[in-house]
Symmetry: C2
Subunit: 198 residues, 2 copies
């Protein structure tokens, strides 16, 4: 005997979650079994509710329960700037800074030939369709990885000829980091992106 069947099934399901191995899955399963039934029902309701409610915004492809999403329909946002991100979680990270007031476009991935992801698999066409005369700047906020760089380059080559300013977020030393321990690529980016002190 190992686990009783319903428990084995529960542990197996938990193991499908990202970053969850057999030990964590077991711990979660036992936690669920010790939770009051009402709490467990609430947990499942939240999952089903989120799954049902959350769709992609048809304008920017942000995950949202509304379409257009809260950002696209917010009148106070600057409609002249679009920040291009790979995933909704990147959008959320940027929103947390409270610094950016423009719109977004979620590509839903980056170009990655190794994984078989080409521009056609991303929301590139939809981005180009948004680029009317009212758009003044496209900010590329993709990860500083090989794929992110390639995607940034690809997009800038498509968008620049339209006469729209294309910028990208700065890469360099993170705040609080120690120059001594920074890796060479980050340092090289920091040097390359240096700005004059005014």
């Amino acid at each position: 005997m190992q686990y009783t069947k319903p428990l084995a099934r529960l542990i197996e399901e938990f193991q499908k979650l990202p970053g969850i191995g057999p030990k964590s899955a077991q711990r979660m399963a036992f936690h669920i079994l010790k939770m009051p039934s009402a709490e467990v029902q609430k947990f499942c309701d939240a999952i089903i509710y989120a799954k049902e409610k959350i769709k992609y915004c048809r304008t920017c492809f942000n995950m949202s329960s509304e379409d257009p999403c809260e950002i696209c329909s917010d009148e106070r946002r600057d409609k002249h700037t679009i920040c291009v991100v790979s995933e909704t979680r990147d959008l959320i990270a940027l929103e947390r800074t409270r610094e950016y007031k423009g719109l977004y476009h979620v590509l839903q991935g980056v170009i990655s030939p190794l994984d078989g992801i080409s521009p056609d698999d991303l929301r590139v066409k939809e981005l180009l369709n948004r680029l009317g005369s009212d758009i003044e700047e496209i900010i590329l906020a993709l990860n500083p990885s090989v794929e992110g760089e390639a995607t940034s380059l690809y997009l800038s080559r498509l968008i620049k000829p339209l006469g729209i300013k294309v910028t990208r977020i700065a890469f360099g030393l993170p705040v609080g980091a120690d120059l001594e321990y920074a890796d060479e690529v980050t340092l090289a980016k920091a040097l390359e992106g240096r700005r004059e002190i005014l």
Copy 2:
């Protein structure tokens, strides 16, 4: 704007799981939203099913979908030995060794005055009720913590006078460990528990 409401609720629910902080919860929530609906339904079904089905065995207080549990009702098990553990997960760890063929008793905790857990909160009375003339040995397999030690001592003082042999699992160096890096308490236990080489 931060998270859209159903997403915020989902992340909050995931954060209630043990060992899950805001970042992991967000990662799981996004994973759920990217999973096919049928898979999500399966996930929730497994939770609800386990929660409904799994009860405690009224004999040994093991978690099980049967009562008596698979172990108590297994005719091939040695009915003369009871191994006392704190939680069902400890029972499962012991079962994995495939070395033990007797019965179990799950205390559902250990004595811990600091947390307000007294012997009355545990399944001690139920253990004593099982100690008929057919029981020959009680193996105490509680964690080598202060609370585990105290509970072991408490139980042995109750059970020994009944003329039943009380033993406890060995504490010492784990297999594969390095003597040089073992802590003093473990080493002391290993010395204390030394056995003659025959």
